[in-house]
């Protein structure tokens, strides 16, 4: 239903590139998306699950969590896009006619992500994830200059190869499940698979899990398959970077989680995939410290920080205790909000200063105080400083590490987080203070503060978590840990 909205909106965008037309159509599409998406999310959380069209589309708590992330961030980012892209056209960085292609691909991108979280079938999910790669490639290369083309090429090649491994993994699972469930779509349905989970052929499942983890892991950006990520995030238009980082990575992680909750039930045991996830997580977290400390390009800084947070999520989910998975689910939502906010505000900063190099940005506070305030909020949010919600979720994951008798790992994770905090603080303080450049055009309206909406939500969620959200998260935990 909302997938239809997104596809129709995408095609509609191609009709005209006039400013008013695009604004009107996007607003209508966003309202419809919010209404239908919000309704589905509500139904899912109140009933535990919700289906459409005799179960062709199916949502449980985990899909609903992802669905809410997609809808919220899509609305925020597209609203920002309308102003941002208009300005790019105004500054003659892009011809106006290209705008319609921009919105076309963005909406196709959103549609494919909605498909990923709405299908109960691991095969169709694969088709959707590959679809997200295709939809975003041309967005990454949207500026068509040398660097953008390079980033897009790297992205397409690396992710396509990765994803084809995931297809092989899915086939292996199908081969294992087909004798029990028959040669049809049902054999890849994650509602049916848990029922036969302990009868599946172990060799096939083990190999399948490995292939899938590497495949989708490339898309999530786990080290060592992360090479495409900073390039793609830094070269794409900023709103697209926000979507990539805050939603797409989560969608790929969602695919891994579906496999995870399934493998926990097979004879491989709950720890098999959890341990691999945790290794990926620690590797990603540890390696990003260096990249973040030494970074000069502000958008790459944020991209590496995404890899780091995906690592934290992998640790939390891989740990597999109730507390850690609860924290990770919350963190998934909060990281999405914070990162989208940061990419948006940094994007507008890059547009104003005309550079992505941090050493060339100085004295932001003096020239654009409101942008400065949001940057400070974002800095505190992304590094998990109290009282932001991210502190709470990261703490829950770390506490899980200590409780499961991994004090050394807990210490290492804390050390990495502290170093990353130091790196972020260093970079951001230098940008915020100092002597501003003369070429800056000072002055901005108070309305800039509207952009801070997501980070304020993160702040509030750090202070108190409403009962309904807590219940929803507990449902998510149940889905991940206990199958369907």
């Amino acid at each position: 239903m909302f997938i239809g909205v997104a596809v129709i909106a995408a095609v509609g965008m191609l009709v005209s590139a006039k400013d008013t037309y695009l604004k009107l159509l996007n607003s209508v599409a966003l309202v419809l998306l919010t209404l239908s998406g919000g309704w589905t999310i509500r139904q899912t959380f109140t009933q535990g699950s919700y289906q459409y069209g005799q179960g062709i589309l199916y949502w449980d708590a985990l899909s609903a969590l992802l669905l809410s992330v997609i809808v919220i961030i899509a609305v925020y980012v597209i609203l920002f896009s309308l102003a941002y892209m208009e300005k790019e056209v105004h500054e003659k960085k892009l011809p106006r006619t290209r705008l319609k292609w921009y919105y076309f691909w963005i909406w196709i991108f959103i549609a494919t992500m909605l498909l990923v979280v709405s299908t109960p079938n691991l095969g169709v999910m694969w088709v959707g994830i590959e679809g997200t790669t295709l939809a975003t490639t041309l967005l990454v290369g949207f500026y068509r200059n040398k660097k953008a083309v390079e980033a897009a090429w790297k992205y397409l090649i690396l992710c396509t190869v990765g994803i084809s491994f995931a297809l092989l993994g899915t086939m292996l699972l199908f081969a294992a499940a087909a004798p029990h469930l028959g040669q049809s779509l049902i054999a890849l349905d994650w509602r049916m698979l848990p029922k036969v989970a302990n009868q599946l052929d172990l060799n096939l499942v083990r190999l399948g899990v490995l292939f899938t983890l590497v495949g989708y892991g490339a898309k999530v950006g786990f080290v060592p398959m992360h090479a495409w990520l900073p390039d793609a995030h830094s070269q794409a238009p900023s709103p697209v970077s926000a979507l990539l980082s805050a939603v797409l990575l989560n969608c790929a992680l969602y695919a891994i989680l579906r496999w995870y909750s399934l493998t926990r039930l097979t004879a491989l045991g709950p720890d098999f995939m959890g341990k691999i996830l945790m290794s990926f997580g620690f590797l990603s977290l540890a390696l990003m410290v260096g990249f973040i400390l030494m970074q000069k390009d502000v958008k790459r800084l944020l991209a590496y920080s995404s890899v780091e947070h995906m690592g934290i999520l992998a640790i939390g989910f891989g740990l597999g205790t109730k507390e850690a998975v609860w924290g990770a689910s919350l963190h998934l939502l909060l990281h999405g909000l914070t990162k989208a906010n940061l990419f948006v505000i940094i994007g507008s900063l890059v547009q104003k200063t005309g550079t992505r190099q941090m050493p060339r940005m100085r004295g932001i506070f003096k020239v654009w105080p409101y942008t400065g305030i949001i940057m400070v909020l974002g800095l505190l949010g992304i590094t998990g400083t109290p009282p932001f919600g991210t502190f709470r979720s990261e703490l829950s994951i770390l506490a899980g590490l200590y409780k499961m008798d991994h004090p050394l790992l807990g210490f290492l994770a804390l050390l990495c987080l502290t170093l990353i905090f130091a790196g972020f603080l260093y970079h951001f303080l230098q940008m915020l203070f100092g002597k501003p450049r003369e070429s800056y055009q000072a002055g901005e309206s108070v309305s800039t503060l509207v952009l801070a909406a997501p980070i304020l939500v993160v702040l509030v969620l750090g202070l108190f978590i409403p009962q309904s959200l807590n219940q929803a998260l507990n449902q998510v935990v149940k889905v991940i840990l206990g199958g369907v």
Binding site: W126, L134, N145, K146, K147, V149, W153, L167, L168, R300
Partner: protein, 218 residues
């Protein structure tokens, strides 16, 4: 597989493996592309034959789609890019063609070795088939690592895709139709996007050599 006789199956597998090796050995992009087309036709004929013997409409349908979509459309699109860019050489940088053939031979043996534990499969023909499929995936990866022309890397992806398709066929006698069609659609759209991207690459760099693209680091 009731239907196709062991002999015929072995013949098809020979064609598949030989064309895979020929792609690795080719020094001209156009030739490699031709070999890939031969291979894809062989894959789709195999699937068609299977479908006709077993009277399964779904399998026949997939075979026809494969023949038209992959063996038909993709070479035309890629050939157009080749002509425009005047690319002929495959860009052997790290390994020359003879030594890459040796490596590919080694990979084939490894492929036979790694598929051993999965060999609960009923017929020996299947066992060969799966090993050849894995070998093709290895060839694709090899091609992507040792060649520097964008289109050849794409051929690597397509080779991997053929391998995965075959592996799926031998493991499961065909995935559900919806998934098959979805993956084929994805590959087709992917190739269209690759064509668009290579045009932009030509505009920016005047060649399809990916070695020029090294500016993004750190």
């Amino acid at each position: 597989m009731s239907g196709i006789s062991e002999n015929w199956l072995n013949l098809v597998l020979l064609v598949l493996l030989a064309s895979g090796l020929s792609i690795v050995y080719s020094s001209r992009v156009e030739k490699a592309l031709n070999w890939w087309t031969v291979q894809t036709v062989a894959v789709s004929l195999l699937i068609l034959a299977q479908g006709i013997y077993q009277n399964e409409l779904e399998v026949i349908f997939v075979g026809i789609l494969l023949l038209i979509g992959k063996a038909g459309v993709i070479p035309i699109l890629l050939r157009r890019v080749l002509k425009e860019s005047k690319t002929e050489w495959v860009g052997e940088i790290y390994l020359k063609r003879a030594s890459s053939l040796v490596v590919a031979g080694g990979l084939t043996i490894i492929a036979y070795d790694v598929t051993k534990p999965l060999m609960a499969l009923p017929q020996s023909g299947f066992r060969n088939g799966l090993a050849v499929a894995i070998a093709l995936i290895f060839f694709g990866l090899l091609l992507m690592m040792i060649r520097k022309v964008a289109i050849v890397q794409v051929l690597g992806i397509l080779l991997i895709d053929n391998g995965i398709f075959l592996a799926g066929f031998f493991l499961t006698q065909g995935m559900p139709l919806l998934v098959e069609m979805g993956s084929m659609f994805d590959i087709l759209v992917g190739i269209v996007i690759i064509v668009i991207l290579s045009k932009q690459m030509l505009e920016n760099y005047d060649s399809l050599n990916v070695d020029h693209m090294r500016s993004l680091k750190g």
